[in-house]
């Protein structure tokens, strides 16, 4: 043990240390610990910020008094891709970044009863919600309240809690006191419930986004639960005699190839089973040439920007009209 370097620290026995030096080091240590504690508490308590448009609780409240004909439910792909303002009738678009099908199911169960007259429910079909664990990714505190869910409505597994706490998986909404974020917060912007538009162009390629997703998804083993939740959602909607459609939103070139083979194949099987089952129509707009989506329509590899959202929403409107879902509202009820 004599050679062990832990004993190679400059040999200054505690008894020989000058008193003020000891105090100085203790003071530095104590002050640093106190600073980290206070700053961390400040950050989590007072600096947390969430854009209202991205808050489902806000979205559902904003929609409460309305009478939507269509009920969109999805993750960020719907948040940036489906603009409720373009529809010639009332629609509600409930969504959240990184939402998995288990949470979507809870949101559907909770909100469908509020709008018994909807003509159709349109749910996003995408590999991410099929494999994701929202609570583990974003943390319980960030997620449930903002989804309009009560804490007791979702029993989070110990694994989810651990994944979040230990891996530091929170990937967005980190508050900051920098001038940029503070000015952004102070700048009033018009909020469209359920829709966030962007002028950004291809901030990350399809391949980069898929790699980012694979990096997140490797922590989870939730495919079975999410798959069951998706089927339960479709069943719930059908039990109310409401048509249900699944929409695949566009992804940029390279996205699908960069997903793992396992994820691709399981997603493809789910999609084919749904189509073969015949209970639900799948509108695959991913590679739809009629949509004319180009590189400049993407905000990043799997999200559309403003121009992309216009094309996607217009296409969905056409399909809704063609399917005869809302015959009595073909003429605009609301411009």
């Amino acid at each position: 043990m004599k050679n062990s370097s832990i004993f190679n620290f400059e040999a200054v026995p505690l008894s020989q240390l000058v008193r003020h030096v000891t105090r100085w080091h203790l003071a530095v240590f104590a002050v640093c610990v106190a600073t980290v504690t206070v700053a961390s508490v400040m950050k989590s308590r007072w600096l947390e910020y969430y854009e209202p448009a991205q808050e489902m609780h806000y979205q559902s409240l904003a929609m409460q008094a309305e009478d939507p004909r269509l009920f969109f439910l999805g993750s960020s792909h719907f948040m940036v891709g489906v603009d409720p303002r373009m529809f010639p009738f009332e629609v509600v678009n409930l969504n959240h970044q990184g939402l998995d099908y288990r949470l979507m199911n809870l949101i559907l169960q909770k909100n469908l009863a509020r709008w018994p007259d909807v003509d159709a429910v349109i749910i996003e079909l995408d590999p991410y919600p099929l494999f994701a664990d929202t609570v583990a990714t974003f943390g319980n505190k960030v997620t449930l309240g903002r989804l309009g869910l009560d804490a007791d409505e979702y029993t989070k597994s110990v694994k989810s809690w651990c994944s979040h706490k230990l891996s530091g998986l929170t990937v967005f909404q980190r508050p900051s006191l920098s001038p940029r974020t503070m000015l952004e917060r102070m700048t009033p912007t018009a909020v469209v419930p359920g829709f966030v538009s962007s002028d950004l162009v291809m901030q990350q390629t399809g391949e980069e986004r898929a790699k980012f997703h694979m990096d997140l998804l490797k922590n989870f083993n939730t495919f079975g639960e999410n798959h069951a939740a998706l089927n339960e959602m479709i069943l719930t909607v059908h039990q109310r005699n409401i048509p249900c459609y699944l929409v695949v939103t566009p992804h940029a070139e390279g996205y699908w190839d960069a997903l793992s083979q396992d994820v691709r194949e399981r997603y493809r099987d789910v999609k084919q089973d749904l189509i073969a089952g015949g209970k639900v129509q799948v509108w695959d707009l991913d590679q739809d040439p009629a949509l004319q989506i180009q590189t400049h329509d993407f905000r990043d590899g799997d999200h559309l920007n403003k121009s992309g959202a216009q094309k996607l929403t217009a296409s969905i409107i056409r399909r809704v009209e063609d399917s005869g879902v809302c015959p009595e509202v073909r003429t605009a009820r609301k411009p």
Binding site: N3, S4, S5, I6, N8, F9, E10, V12, W24, A27, V28, V31, C32, T35, V36, V38, A39, S40, M42, K43, L47, S167, G168, F172, Q173, R174, P175, S176, L177, S178, P179, R180, T181, L183, E184
Partner: protein, 468 residues
């Protein structure tokens, strides 16, 4: 695994805990394993390149020392140079030279074709190649003895704190530290901790908060208004300084905690008064490498005046190319090479020395040269040189007052850094904060820690110099 990631914190805590408990030889083994793991976390396949460099230069070093004939020594050195520079040429420059050649022949009406290499750039290849080259060259010159311990040499090549972005260490400085037991002194812990803390401030608060403004201006110059271009002009200077000096500080800090001193890579570069002074302060490990292994062998300033200018220009052109396989890096090198030549022509060859100790003049020179450096960063950051007129056009003809957030970010985070450095410059202190009285030091620790936690950028950016 970036220094600014949670993974790295876990990695370093684990390595450091083991390091403190092990004896000296096992420490080196642990550091080598940790260094290879650190590098493999990016791409394990490219570990083979480091291993090739390590083996070639270890054998070459021993060979050069063993043989007596100067011709044989030179031949062995050539093998080392060809192997190292060959790897660098293939992995970093092949596609660049082929593309440039094809476009040149295409412009002359000759259509040629050559296969492109489908390979990503190995992280840090330029850094460890230069580091290992200095080892064999120093042995060839008789300035260094070859090490017989392969483990020590492998650790010298792959030492993780400085593996991917420097400082480019000299074997004569680092190898002896790796080959002898380290004693971690109180100074190591104090200075190391401060370097790490301030390094993270430089990177996460200063650089990452400015990155969006720089990215916006340089990636979409036609969409940026005049005020944004102006903010981007200054923000780029602070971003790259925060990013690279931040990395160097963290690298030196974590190394110092282990009792190993790495060289200072930055010495308040924005207080330089002229190009020559700037290159004594900016990326010191590269500029001294270029001086010792390129500029001086080319003849340095020993020949005629024009030969000196040529040597300066060639050295800086290659220095620019070292940064990346793109013409704007070459242009940036040329920009500084010409500036060094003009400075030498005016103030050294013609002896126009300003009056010494003229504080006012000194401040004007610093301010003026800072702006000159910023122009250089424009060339460095712009992906296409053809975008420079667009930026100028936007600056002059498309003026809107919408760069307030960028301006405030520079004022809030950049100016305090300059003020602290100004104090250090005036008092000739290496570490300004560590020279202050205890109450002020403690206040500075609190401010830096709090800023790191509260003002760290929401978007974590890669270190810019990793791509080189």
């Amino acid at each position: 695994m970036y220094f600014n990631s949670v993974k790295f914190v876990f990695f370093f805590v684990a390595v450091y805990s083991g390091y403190l408990l092990l004896s000296f030889r096992l420490q080196n083994l642990l550091l080598l394993a940790a260094s290879y793991f650190f590098y493999a976390s990016w791409n394990w396949k490219f570990l083979s390149l480091i291993l090739i460099s390590t083996c070639v230069d270890y054998v070459a070093g021993l060979g050069i020392e063993r043989v007596t004939s100067q011709i044989a020594k030179r031949r062995i050195l050539m093998v080392s140079l060809v192997a190292n520079l060959g790897l660098l040429a293939v992995f970093k420059y092949y596609n660049f030279f082929i593309d440039s050649l094809l476009s040149l022949t295409g412009s002359m009406g000759i259509e040629l074709s050559a296969p492109a290499l489908q390979v990503i750039l190995p992280v840090g290849i330029s850094f460890y190649t230069f580091q290992t080259l200095s080892y064999t060259i120093d042995i060839y010159r008789g300035e260094l003895k070859a090490t017989k311990n392969f483990l020590d040499f492998a650790l010298f090549v792959a030492y993780f704190p400085q593996l991917v972005a420097g400082p480019i260490e000299r074997a004569s400085v680092l190898l002896p530290q790796l080959a002898t037991p380290r004693i971690i002194k109180q100074r190591h812990v104090e200075v190391g901790s401060w370097l790490i803390l301030s390094g993270y401030f430089f990177k996460c608060v200063l650089s990452d908060n400015l990155a969006p403004f720089v990215k916006q201006v340089f990636e979409t110059p036609d969409k940026s208004h005049g005020a944004e271009v102006l903010v981007g002009f200054y923000a780029a200077a602070f971003q790259i300084y925060g990013d690279f000096a931040g990395y160097s500080r963290i690298a030196r800090g974590i190394s110092m905690l282990m009792g190993i001193d790495l060289m200072q890579n930055f010495n308040r570069p924005y207080f330089a008064e002229n190009p020559s002074d700037f290159w004594r302060r900016w990326h010191i490990s590269l500029s001294t490498w270029l001086r010792d292994y390129l500029y001086i062998p080319l003849g340095g300033n020993r020949g005629s005046r024009w030969a000196t200018y040529r040597n300066l220009l060639l050295t800086m052109l290659l220095g620019g190319l070292w940064h990346g396989a793109a013409w704007h890096f070459v242009a940036w090198g040329a920009f500084h090479g010409i500036a060094l030549g003009i400075h030498r022509f005016l103030f050294i060859d013609h002896g126009r020395h300003p009056k010494p100790h003229n504080r006012q003049m000194q401040i004007w020179k610093i301010v003026l040269f800072f702006h000159f450096t910023c122009v250089g960063w424009l060339i460095f950051f712009i992906p296409k040189l053809g975008d420079l007129p667009i930026l100028w056009n936007q600056l002059v003809h498309s003026w809107e007052w919408n760069g307030l957030d960028g301006f405030l970010t520079i004022v809030v985070f950049g100016v305090p850094v300059l003020l602290v450095e100004w104090w250090a410059e005036r008092n000739n202190a290496t570490y300004a904060v560590l020279a202050w009285r205890p109450s002020l030091r403690l206040t500075m620790y609190v401010i830096t820690l709090a800023a790191l936690i509260l003002c760290g950028s929401p978007e974590s950016e890669e270190f810019i110099y990793f791509q080189f």
